[in-house]
C-alpha cells in the first residue's frame, strides 16, 4: 500500500511539474503561436529561482524573479514572432538554445550546491486525514495546491468566458478578430508572456519543489513532454492534466520498481517517459484514424495584416 501511495503521490508531483508549462503552452498555442522553446524557458525559470533563493533566502522573492524571467523571455519571443513575424519554429529553437546556454552560464556559481530552501509539503487540515487519497492529493506543497485551483480556472476561462471565446478565435482566424476591432498583436503578446511565465514557474517547481538544487539541463526533457502533452490533450487543460498524471505514473512506476528489479538497468526506467511520449504522440496525433483535429487553424502562422 505504501508503494502505491508513493507512486501516486509522486505522479501528482511529476504531473504538476509539467502542468504549469503545459497550461502556458496551451494558452500560447490557442492564440495561434507555437512556442517550441518550453525546455529552455523552464531551465531559465529553474535557474533564476535557485540563484535568488540561494542568495536572498527568500522564497517569495525567488518566485517573483522567476515570473519576471519568464515574462522577459516571453517579451523577446513575442517581439520576434509577433512584431517581426519571424518563423515560430526557428524562434522556438533559438529560445531553447538561449535558455539552455544562458541558464548554465548564469547558474554555474551555485550548480550542485544545496539550496536548503524549498516548497515543503504542507498537509491540509482535515483533507489530508482521508485515508490514501489524503496522502496522495493533500499532503503536497503550495505550488501543487495552486495548480488544483488553476486547472478548473483555465478550463473555465477557455470554454466559458468571453475572453476565452476571443482566445479561441485568435488561434483559428485572427483576421476576423482584427476586423472586429480587437488588437490581435497585443492579445498574442499577452498570451505568449503568460505562457512563458507559466513555463518558468514549471522550471522553478523542478528546482525548488521537486528537488532543491540547480543543475545544468536539470529539466531533462520535461519541457518537451509538456509540449507533446498539449497536442495530445487537444488543447484542453482538463485532458492535459490527465495526460500529465499518466506520465507521472509511468515515470514514478519506473523509479519505484527499480528497487524490486535489481537486474534491470536503471536506464530502462529512466527512458520510459520518453518512449511513452513517442508512443502517446503517435497514437493521439497520428492522422490514421481521424481527419479532424482540434489544432488551432492559425497555429504557427504569423499574422500579417498586409497579406490578410
Amino acid at each position: 500500500m505504501n508503494l502505491i501511495v508513493a507512486i501516486l503521490s509522486g505522479a501528482v508531483v511529476y504531473a504538476v511539474s509539467v502542468l504549469y508549462a503545459g497550461i502556458g503552452e496551451t494558452f500560447t498555442e490557442r492564440s495561434g503561436v507555437m512556442n517550441l522553446g518550453v525546455e529552455g524557458i523552464m531551465l531559465m525559470g529553474a535557474m533564476s529561482g535557485c540563484v535568488t533563493a540561494f542568495h536572498t533566502r527568500n522564497l517569495a522573492l525567488a518566485m517573483l524573479i522567476v515570473i519576471l524571467t519568464g515574462a522577459v523571455l516571453g517579451l523577446i519571443f513575442a517581439f520576434l514572432t509577433v512584431t517581426l513575424q519571424s518563423d515560430q519554429t526557428v524562434c522556438g529553437m533559438a529560445m531553447l538554445i538561449l535558455g539552455t546556454g544562458l541558464s548554465g552560464f548564469l547558474g554555474e556559481d551555485i550548480a550542485s550546491k544545496p539550496i536548503n530552501l524549498k516548497f515543503t509539503k504542507i498537509p491540509l487540515p482535515v483533507l489530508s486525514e482521508i485515508p490514501i487519497i489524503g496522502d496522495i492529493l493533500f499532503n503536497q506543497n503550495l505550488l501543487v495546491y495552486i495548480m488544483y485551483l488553476l486547472l478548473p480556472l483555465a478550463t473555465f476561462y477557455i470554454y466559458k468566458t468571453r475572453w476565452g471565446l476571443k482566445l479561441r478565435a485568435l488561434g483559428e482566424n485572427p483576421a476576423v478578430l482584427d476586423a472586429a476591432g480587437e488588437n490581435v498583436f497585443a492579445m498574442r503578446y499577452g498570451y505568449i508572456v503568460f505562457g512563458t511565465t507559466m513555463m518558468a514557474i514549471s522550471g522553478a517547481f523542478v528546482s525548488l519543489a521537486q528537488t532543491n538544487v540547480w543543475q545544468e539541463g536539470m529539466t531533462a526533457g520535461k519541457g518537451w513532454i509538456a509540449f507533446a502533452l498539449v497536442a495530445f490533450s487537444s488543447w484542453n487543460p482538463a485532458t492535459l492534466a490527465l495526460g500529465a498524471l499518466l506520465f507521472g505514473f509511468i515515470s514514478n512506476l519506473g523509479s519505484n520498481l527499480q528497487i524490486y528489479l535489481p537486474g534491470v538497468p536503471t536506464e530502462i526506467f529512466s527512458a520510459m517517459p520518453y518512449v511513452a511520449t513517442i508512443v502517446v504522440l503517435i497514437i493521439s496525433t497520428g492522422n490514421f484514424r481521424k481527419k479532424h483535429t482540434a489544432e488551432p487553424a492559425a497555429l504557427a502562422k504569423a499574422y500579417d495584416r498586409e497579406s490578410r
Binding site: A228, A231, L281, G286, F288
Partner: protein, 359 residues
C-alpha cells in the same frame, strides 16, 4: 496613426547575397556586444575574454588545428540538419542520431571481425551512418505516414540514445580498470589521418566535409531528386500535383540527415576522441541547429560556420581561467541566434520614411 505612418516597413522585392552578409555580420556584432554585457555581469572583463579567444583560438596554429578538429562533428551534424530544414522538417534529433551512430560504429570496432586500416575505417563509417539513419527513420516513418510532429519525436529519441550510450559506456563496454565511462581506444590504424599545410595541421575529415557539402550542393542543383526537394520545400501542394512523393522524400531526407549525424559520430570517434565516451555528442546536435540556421542552409556556409563554432566551443577552455562560466559557448550561440533572427527582419523588409501628409 499618422505619427506611426512616418516610418513604415515595406516588403523587399529582391534578396541580395551581399545584403544578407552585411545584415548577418551586424547582427553577430550586436550579439557579441550583448554577450559582452552578460560576461561583464558575472564579473569578468569582456574585452579580455574576446581578446583571449581571438589570439589563442582563432589565430594561433595550435588553436586552428584544434578548431578544425572540433568543427568535424558540428560540420556533419550541421550538414544533416540543414538538409531537413530545407524541406521544412524539424530534425532536432541530430544529438541522438550522432549517439546512435557512435553506438553502431563502436559495436563494429569492439565486437566485429578484426578489420583494421582503411577498410576498417570505411566499414565503421558505414556502420555509424546506418546507426544514425535508422535512428532518424524511427521518427521519419510516423511523420511521413501519419503526420506525427517530428520535432517532439526526434528530441525524445535524443534522450533515449544518450541513455543507451551512457549505459554502454558505464556498463558492458567500459574499459576495465577505469572509473570514467569510456571504451577501449580505436586501433591506431583506423585514426583519421591529419596532414600538414604550411604550419597548420588539418584533419582529412575537414576535406571529407567539404566534399560532402559539394555533393549536397550539386545534388540540389543538378539532379531530379534535388529538384523534387526544392519543389516540396517551396510548395508542397504543387509537388503533390506534379506527382512527387512527399512520403518517400521525407524518409529519404530524414535518413540522410540522420546518417550524416551518425558520420559526425564517426569523425569524433576516429578523428578526435579515439574512443567512445559517456557524453560524446556534447550538444553538437543542438549547436548544429544554430549553424544550419546561420548558414541559411547553404552547405558550403555550413562548413565555414561550423569551423568558427568549433573555435567558439574550444575557447571555453581558454577563457575559463579568466573566471568565465564554462557554458559561455552555448550562451553565445543562443544570443547570436536571437540577434540573427531579429536581423533577418531587415532582409525581408526595408524602412521607408514617408513625407508628412503623404501617408
Amino acid at each position: 496613426m499618422s505619427a506611426m505612418n512616418k516610418f513604415r516597413f515595406e516588403k523587399r522585392e529582391k534578396q541580395s547575397a551581399l545584403r544578407t552578409l552585411i545584415i548577418t555580420a551586424v547582427s553577430v556584432l550586436l550579439a557579441l556586444v550583448c554577450c559582452g554585457i552578460l560576461i561583464f555581469s558575472v564579473g569578468s572583463k569582456p574585452l579580455k575574454v574576446y581578446e583571449t579567444m581571438l589570439t589563442q583560438v582563432f589565430l594561433s596554429p595550435t588553436g586552428i588545428k584544434n578548431m578544425l578538429r572540433s568543427s568535424l562533428p558540428l560540420m556533419f551534424c550541421g550538414l544533416g540538419v540543414a538538409l531537413t530544414f530545407k524541406m521544412n522538417l524539424n530534425n532536432i534529433g541530430a544529438e541522438g542520431q550522432y549517439a546512435a551512430g557512435v553506438i553502431a560504429g563502436g559495436a563494429f570496432v569492439l565486437f566485429g571481425p578484426d578489420i583494421e586500416g582503411v577498410p576498417g575505417m570505411i566499414i565503421t563509417a558505414l556502420c555509424c551512418f546506418l546507426g544514425g539513419a535508422i535512428w532518424a527513420l524511427i521518427c521519419a516513418i510516423p511523420k511521413a505516414y501519419w503526420g506525427v510532429n517530428e520535432s517532439i519525436t526526434t528530441l525524445m529519441m535524443n534522450y533515449i540514445a544518450l541513455m543507451i550510450l551512457a549505459y554502454l559506456c558505464l556498463g558492458p563496454w567500459k574499459m576495465p580498470r577505469q572509473n570514467t565511462g569510456m571504451t577501449e581506444r580505436i586501433p591506431r590504424s583506423m585514426d583519421i589521418p591529419e596532414i600538414m599545410i604550411g604550419d597548420i595541421q588539418i584533419s582529412v575529415g575537414v576535406f571529407i566535409g567539404i566534399i560532402v557539402a559539394a555533393l549536397i550542393y550539386c545534388a540540389y542543383k543538378y539532379t531530379t531528386g534535388g529538384y523534387q526537394l526544392t519543389v516540396i520545400s517551396k510548395s508542397p501542394k504543387s509537388a503533390q500535383y506534379a506527382g512527387i512523393s512527399i512520403k518517400k522524400n521525407i524518409l529519404m531526407v530524414m535518413s540522410l540527415s540522420g546518417g550524416l549525424a551518425g558520420l559526425a559520430g564517426f569523425m569524433q570517434y576516429a578523428g578526435v576522441a579515439h574512443r567512445i565516451v559517456e557524453n560524446m555528442p556534447n550538444n553538437a546536435g543542438y549547436t548544429a541547429i544554430v549553424i544550419a540556421y546561420l548558414s541559411r542552409l547553404n552547405p558550403f556556409t555550413v562548413v565555414v560556420v561550423s569551423i568558427l563554432f568549433g573555435g567558439l566551443q574550444n575557447s571555453t577552455a581558454y577563457v575559463q581561467s579568466l573566471g568565465v562560466p564554462s557554458q559561455i559557448a552555448t550562451m553565445m550561440q543562443g544570443v547570436i541566434m536571437i540577434f540573427v533572427i531579429a536581423g533577418d527582419f531587415f532582409q525581408r523588409y526595408r524602412l521607408v520614411i514617408a513625407k508628412e501628409g503623404k501617408a
